[in-house]
């Protein structure tokens, strides 16, 4: 059986676990721990420390695995391990939290350095009133024109499907070029 892997990365609380949960055919295998710092606790109670793991079975011979990275820098030793063999990656950004944009850009650059695979940026929480729109986010994050920056709502399956499909289209385009 062939397995392929995509990585879902982004800052703490950007919606990675939710993204995978929305589309995975199995209950997402979560490796969460209680949040220890008061700042992080204000955002959510538990955080991913090693990885989240989701699966989409294509047929008897092919399975797609989705790996969500831990968002906190102190767990970044896991990132390179997760990046090994990835077909492409999604960078999740919380569009309502400009304080995380710099971190998102830094994570994006780190993953680009790991492997020259295609990637897309998912501007999560676009259903929230105070979300920055994608045009503004592109400028704020300095995302080149050729890179897809997609509006996303991580708990909406259709939105997640669109993001994954756009990533796959980018992978296909690169193969064909």
């Amino acid at each position: 059986m062939q397995t392929v892997k995509m990585v879902i990365t982004g800052p703490f609380s950007s919606g990675k676990t939710e993204f995978i949960s929305s589309i995975s055919e199995i209950d997402v295998v979560k490796t969460e721990r209680s949040v220890t710092t008061p700042g992080e606790k204000a955002v959510k109670d538990a955080t991913t420390v090693a990885m989240d793991f989701g699966r989409i079975t294509v047929d008897d011979d092919l399975v797609l695995y989705l790996f969500g990275t831990p968002g906190q820098r102190r767990f970044d030793f896991m990132w390179e391990i997760l990046a090994e063999g990835m077909l492409g990656f999604v960078v999740m950004v919380d569009s309502t939290k400009p304080e995380t944009f710099r971190e998102a850009k830094s994570i994006l650059e780190t993953f680009r350095a790991y492997a020259p695979t295609p990637y897309v940026v998912a501007a999560n929480k676009q259903d929230m009133e105070d979300a920055w729109n994608t045009d503004d986010l592109r400028i704020a994050l300095r995302i080149e024109e050729g890179i897809k920056l997609l509006p996303c709502v991580a708990n909406d399956k259709e939105s997640v499907k669109t993001v994954l499909l756009e990533l796959l289209y980018s992978i296909l385009e690169e193969m064909e070029s």
């Binding site: 063999g85 729109n133 796959l168």
Partner: protein, 291 residues
């Protein structure tokens, strides 16, 4: 939807760059930050907006007005501050023309030969720029950009290209660390953006900036440009920062530089992407469409 955030996360220069590139119309307000007991997503104390420190107006990406909190910013004050009206003249005009709009007052003053039209325009421009240069140095405070909100209609608005403001603002940024962190690798090269003719139209560059611009070529590293111009690392960083923030140049990898960016951690060499046939990707696409 308003753009909001804190200058500690998204600087004034970045905001001006965004407004310029997106051609936005609206009003940017910057506030005193009132710390709360809550933490933001990065663990820093969350701030809520307090008193307004500054208000800046933009129209289709151009700076058109700016006032600092506590300043009235009306025409008489501006002309007085720039020396076009004496203190006595300003006091008398204020008393006599209390309910006159700035536009009407300007006409009266020009017709009475107190000032020329050029005096009015240059004074307002100078005032606006001083306010903006002042707030470029602010590195903390909540901000909010309201789309399509403009200054009161009686105000005289003088459009100013933001590229020059950003360049001048960058000239005034002294923090070496900031420049270093923005451009850590001097072995990158520079290239012009698409439509360079359009971007350079009306731009006023310093001699040093022109010297750098004349060497812009993806084959020349920034280090080589600095050496050719006898510039220090800080000088070249400052100039490249200004030019890049104004959208006049872009950073690129020179030919021959490793395809992957510098790694952030120690460890194994760069990871190779998997060799997956095109048919597999097509199968994945079909499957996800069906979900």
């Amino acid at each position: 939807m308003p753009l909001q955030g804190n200058l500690r996360d998204f600087s004034t220069t970045q905001l001006l760059n965004l407004i310029n590139l997106a051609g936005k119309t609206g009003t940017l307000s910057i506030f005193e930050g009132v710390k709360t007991n809550d933490k933001d997503a990065m663990g820093k104390p969350k701030m809520i907006p307090g008193a307004e420190r500054a208000r800046v107006g933009f129209k289709t990406g151009k700076l058109i007005a700016a006032t600092l909190g506590g300043q009235d910013g009306n025409l008489v004050s501006v002309l007085n501050k720039t020396g076009k009206l004496t203190d006595d003249q300003a006091r008398i005009i204020r008393e006599r023309a209390r309910n006159t709009s700035d536009k009407a007052l300007a006409l009266l003053l020009i017709n009475a030969n107190y000032v020329t039209q050029r005096d009015v325009v240059s004074s307002i421009q100078q005032h606006t720029l001083e306010v903006v240069y002042n707030l470029l140095a602010w590195n903390e405070g909540p901000f909010r950009f309201e789309d399509n909100t403009l200054p009161p209609p009686d105000r005289i608005l003088v459009p100013i290209d933001l590229e020059n403001v950003i360049i001048e603002g960058a000239r005034r940024i002294k923090e070496i660390e900031q420049l270093n962190s923005h451009l850590p690798n001097l072995d990158m090269a520079l290239k012009f953006p698409d439509n360079p003719r359009e971007k350079f139209k009306g731009i006023h560059l310093s001699v040093e900036e022109w010297r750098v611009v004349s060497f812009v070529n993806p084959k020349n590293t920034i280090r080589q440009i600095a050496k050719a111009n006898n510039m220090s690392e800080i000088e070249i960083r400052r100039i490249v920062y200004g030019l890049e923030q104004a959208g006049l140049v872009e950073l690129v990898k020179p030919p021959g530089m490793a395809d992957t960016l510098p790694r952030t951690g120690a460890g194994r060499p760069g990871i190779r992407p998997p060799q997956v046939p095109e048919t597999v990707v097509r199968k994945l696409i079909d499957r996800i469409r069906q979900i």
